[in-house]
Every structure is written in C-alpha cells, then in structure tokens.
C-alpha cells in the first residue's frame, strides 16, 4: 500500500445472505489517496452505495461480505466490531447522503445535533461545543449562524439541511468523507455551492473525498480520479482528465456519449446517444464479461471469460478487446 493511500478496498465481494447466487459485488478494488477526490460512477444498482456502506461498517441486514479486504490508514478496518467502527465513523470518516433528513433527528435543534457529534469525540464543555458549532455553521455558509443554530431541521430548506449534515460530517476533522449523491435532490445553484464547500474543506483540511454520483458534470469538475462500475465490477479507473479524453471501456464510452452536453444536438438526429439493452440482474449468471450482451466490441471470448483489470497506459480497464488506439481523440 502506497504511503499516501488512505483507504484501500481490495477484491471486495458482497452477496445477499440467504441467496448466495445473488452476487452484488464481484471483486471490487480501488484506492483513495489522502486529500484527493475519487468519484465512483455507474449504472443504478451497480453497487456504489453498498460499497460505501461496506467501508463504513454499515452494511444492511441481509448483505454479507464474502471476500475482500478494507484497509484504512494502514490497518484492516474492524468492520465487525460495532463499537470500534462507531468511533472511526465519527472521528475519521464522515458521511453525507442524498437525503439529509435521514441523517437528522427532527426533534432536536440542529445545533444540539452537531454539538453531540463533537462531544462524543472530544472532551470539551457544552458552551465550548456550541461555539464550535456556530463557527462550523459559518464555515459551511449557513445564514445567520447565531440564530439558525437553534432551529429544527424541518424549518430549513433542502440545501440548508445538506449544509448541516456536511457540518456534522466535518465536525471532527475526518480524514475521509464519503458523499453518496449529496446534491441529487438540489437545484443546480445549490449544488454548485455545496460542491464548492466540499472542495474548500478539502483544500483547507486535507480531507479525502469519495464522491458517488450519476452526474458526469460534477465528476469532471471535482474529481481527481474516477472509478467506473458496471454490474458489481469496476470496469475502468483513471485520472479524471484521461477518463474523459480517452475512455477505454466500451461502457465508459457509451456513458460519456449518452450524457447531455452543450452543442451536441445535430439537426434530424436523435437528441442523445444510447447504449442499447439493459443491465443484467444480480442473479444472472453470465460466464464472461457482464457488459458483453450490450457491447459493440464483444467477441467470442467476452461471452466465455471474465476480463481481469489490466493497465493500458495509465488507465486500469477490464476489457478483452479495447486498445488505446481505439480511444477517440
């Protein structure tokens, strides 16, 4: 493990407990570098959220890790030890989800909730904690922090609630922040503010970010690296600029082509470019590549043999048939 690697997920396999043939993750590996942002993108249901839940030791009832290692800051994460994981979650790994209300308790003021997080991990007085909370609220750009601190969550807008959750996640100076679709429910203007806020926190505190999103625009703007997942596997990983300029996996190429972009529309053409077909279900037993049934490059071997990740240039890609020369300029 490289010295600057903060989180390392290695060959992670997850299954549905009472249905071992329902394999949700089929060997996923990636590293997160200290102070950097890794984006994880991919089709709905490909396993992005369960991957992040596994890292935090919050796998839902009914899912089992069947193989793999998760190492954080040089040691195996004690994912089965609830007490130890709770401490790590508050102290070192913060999290932000799509729906801020799920992370907030409607019966306590937001100030008390953020203070609670601080008090659990630090030995300071309530009054000191309150001061810290007000300062944090100012940092995340909440209006009138001295008053908003005593508000209840339902009195805030969606964007304000998400700021509170981010304040909570940052309250203990975590080394890693996992954000799963943090701005999907918000307007573009609010989304831009939240993204600036996260990048600002990264620049100031050196926190590493795992950003899970469907929005390739956000990825282009904030990620240092991108991992692309498809049906329980990572199919490609590269530095952001490289992934956008020279995508290698046919799924990545299809995804980029299907994304709306300025000036793309040609008279008389379909508005967007499609990937034909559908993702396989988690129980579907394909012998080879799980993208093969939809793939324009698929050949005989793709239906028989699972492609292992390999390096082409500086990109890791799991495909039998792609070559660098095929990448569009």
């Amino acid at each position: 493990m490289a010295k600057d690697t903060l989180l390392s997920v290695e060959d992670l396999h997850l299954s549905v407990s009472h249905m071992p043939e329902a394999r949700i993750l089929r060997g996923v590996s990636f590293d997160v570098t200290r102070g950097k942002t890794l984006a994880i993108v991919g089709e709905s249901g490909c396993g992005k959220s369960v991957t992040s839940l596994a890292v935090m030791g919050l796998l839902p009832e009914g899912l089992t890790k069947t193989a793999g290692h998760i190492r954080f800051d040089g040691t195996d994460l004690p994912v089965t030890d609830n007490e130890a994981m709770r401490k790590i979650r508050g102290d070192r790994i913060g999290m932000v989800f799509q729906e801020p209300m799920a992370a907030l308790n409607p019966v306590y003021t937001i100030g008390n909730q953020v203070a609670e997080v601080i008090l659990e991990h630090e030995n300071i007085s309530r009054a000191e904690a309150r001061e810290r909370v007000i300062a944090l609220m100012r940092e995340v750009g909440l209006p009138d922090p001295d008053h908003i601190v005593d508000e209840y969550p339902h009195r805030l807008s969606g964007g304000q609630r998400q700021r509170v959750v981010i304040a909570m996640a940052l309250a203990c100076n975590p080394d890693l922040l996992i954000a799963d679709e943090p701005t999907t429910a918000l307007d573009v203007t609010v989304q831009a503010q939240i993204m600036r806020l996260l990048k600002g926190a990264q620049a100031e505190l050196g926190v590493a970010i795992v950003l899970i999103t469907h929005n390739l625009g956000l990825v282009a703007q904030v990620a240092d690296r991108v991992a692309v997942m498809y049906a329980g596997r990572k199919v490609e990983e590269a530095e952001t600029r490289r992934l956008f300029s020279a995508p290698l996996h046919p799924y990545t190429r299809g995804l980029l082509a299907a994304t709306p972009r300025p000036g793309r529309r040609q008279e008389g053409e379909l508005p967007l470019s499609e990937i034909p077909g559908m993702v396989p279900s988690i129980t579907e037993d394909l012998r080879g590549c799980r993208f093969a049934p939809r793939c324009p490059l698929a050949s005989d071997i793709c239906h028989r043999v699972i492609p292992e990740p390999r390096m082409i240039g500086a990109t890791s890609v799991a495909c039998h048939n792609t070559t660098e020369t095929e990448a569009p300029a």
């Binding site: 469907h214 703007q221 300029s245 709306p260 379909l270 967007l272």
Partner: protein
C-alpha cells in the same frame, strides 16, 4: 395560427397555515403543435402547480387556459370531458404513479376503459400496439410494475399517456430519477414518438443541458413568473435575465477543462 395550448395571465394560490402561497403569478405561455417547450426553474417556483392547472387537477384563481382556442378554465367536469384525452401526463416517479396490484396490460388499458374506447378486442390489440411502440415486449403484458426497472416503468407510463391519442403530453421531470444511459433511451423514445405522431410536449426538468439537447423552446420560471423564453439554443447562448445567467453558470459541464461556475462559456460555444 392559433397555438395548441395557450395560457394567459394565469394565477394560482394555496391557503396554508403559513398564509397564502401564491404559486403561479400571471403566467402566459404557448405550446405549438409538434413542438417541445421546456419549463425550467428552481424547486418550488410553481412548475408542477402550473402543470396541474393545465391538466384540470388544480383550479386556478384567474386567467385563461386555451386548448386549440377553446377556454378550459371554468368548464364543468362534464364539459371538460371531451377535451380530457387531448392532454395527458407522464410523472417523475413511475413507481408511485402506477397501481402495484394491476398488470401492465390493465394499466395501459385503463384510460381506454375509462373513456369507453372501442370493443374489448380492439382495446387488447391497442395495448399490444402501444407496448410495441414504447419498446416493451408483448410477453410482459401480464406482469406487475414491481417486476420492472425504473426505465421500463417510465415506458409503461408513456404507453398509458399515449393510449387516448393525446395532442399534448405534460412531462413532469420524466427522466430525473433515471440513469444517464436509461435517460438517453427514454428521451430518444419521446423524440421518436413526437416525430411519428406529431405530439407536443411541455417538458418540466432540472437538467438544463438536456433542455438544450432536446427542447425547441424554453420558458424560464422564477418565483411563479416566466422571466425569459425563446428558442432553447438561443436562450442558452445568450441568456438575458439575471436568473437564467446564474442558472446556466452553475451547470456542471462534463468536461474537465471547463471549470466550475463557467457554464455560460461552454454554451456560448
């Protein structure tokens, strides 16, 4: 030429515990036959309320809604009935808008049953035609909604909306809950249907880049009012209203060489 849909000075408000919420404040707009008008604006600006007024699900305070020149505001349910088939809708969350206990064939047939269209034999054939048109396999007809993915459920919703041969379909965030690749399939389907059937769309969305790729014209809604409208590509290239500029600047462009906050440059070309 009269527009297919013409809205004049429409107002709609709600009485709430917080007092009066004036959701639609004097909106005027037109949708022509065969075109897509995108309605864009921030959360809570009144888009869905406007759509519900057009569908006859919400009574406006004042103003006019003309369908092919015929006034809809103030009509009784009975007088409205012959016009109902002309305007249909597709909503964001296909799951919550489909009755989970009904089979796909029954869901698509429902509007035909309600309006007593054709013989049972003809209805059955029509359902299969519709399923084929939206890309659903005919042998799925007897399945239930939960057996389908989000994109497929949206196809079911579209088939249902098409059943009565509407002239205008109001799409309220139809692809917001879908993946990029499924979104592309559904947007292309809507485009193909429009080309083949001459449909008009009022397309409500948050995705401003999609608007530029898909819509003919765009109307920008801000706090209950239309603040700017025009051909989509022109408005995106040269936005006039401050609100439009702020919104376009905030669009994250899928190109690492376009920095955050400079959306307008990307569209100016």
């Amino acid at each position: 030429m009269t527009a297919l849909l013409s809205i004049r000075e429409l107002h709609c408000s709600f009485d709430t515990t917080r007092g009066k919420v004036h959701a639609v404040r004097g909106v005027s707009l037109e949708v022509n036959a065969g075109e897509t008008l995108a309605l864009v604006g921030e959360s809570g600006c009144g888009k869905t309320t406007l759509a519900r007024c057009i569908l006859g699900l919400q009574r406006p305070d004042s103003g006019h809604i003309l369908l092919d020149g015929q006034e809809m505001v103030g009509l009784s349910r009975r007088a409205m009935r012959p016009f109902r088939p002309d305007v249909q809708c597709v909503f964001q969350d296909p799951f919550s808008s489909l009755n989970p206990r009904k089979r796909i064939s029954a869901l698509i047939r429902e509007p035909l049953d309600v309006h007593g269209v054709g013989t049972p034999e003809e209805r059955k054939r029509r359902v299969l035609d519709l399923m084929e048109r939206v890309g659903l396999r005919p042998d799925w007809a007897e399945r239930f909604p939960h057996e389908f993915s989000g994109g497929q459920r949206q196809r079911i919703g579209i088939a249902r909306a098409l059943a009565l041969n509407p002239r205008l379909i109001i799409c309220d965030e139809p692809v917001s809950a879908l993946d990029v690749s499924v979104q592309a399939q559904i947007v292309n389907l809507l485009y193909t249907l429009q080309r083949d059937l001459g449909l008009s769309y009022l397309f409500i969305t948050h995705d401003l880049t999609l608007v530029e790729n898909f819509a003919d014209r765009v109307a920008m809604m801000y706090q209950g009012q239309i603040v700017e409208s025009g051909p989509a590509q022109e408005v995106w290239r040269n936005p006039q209203h401050e609100f439009t500029r702020t919104l376009i600047d905030a669009i994250p462009i899928p190109d690492p060489d376009v920095p955050m906050g400079s959306g307008r440059k990307a569209f100016a070309g």
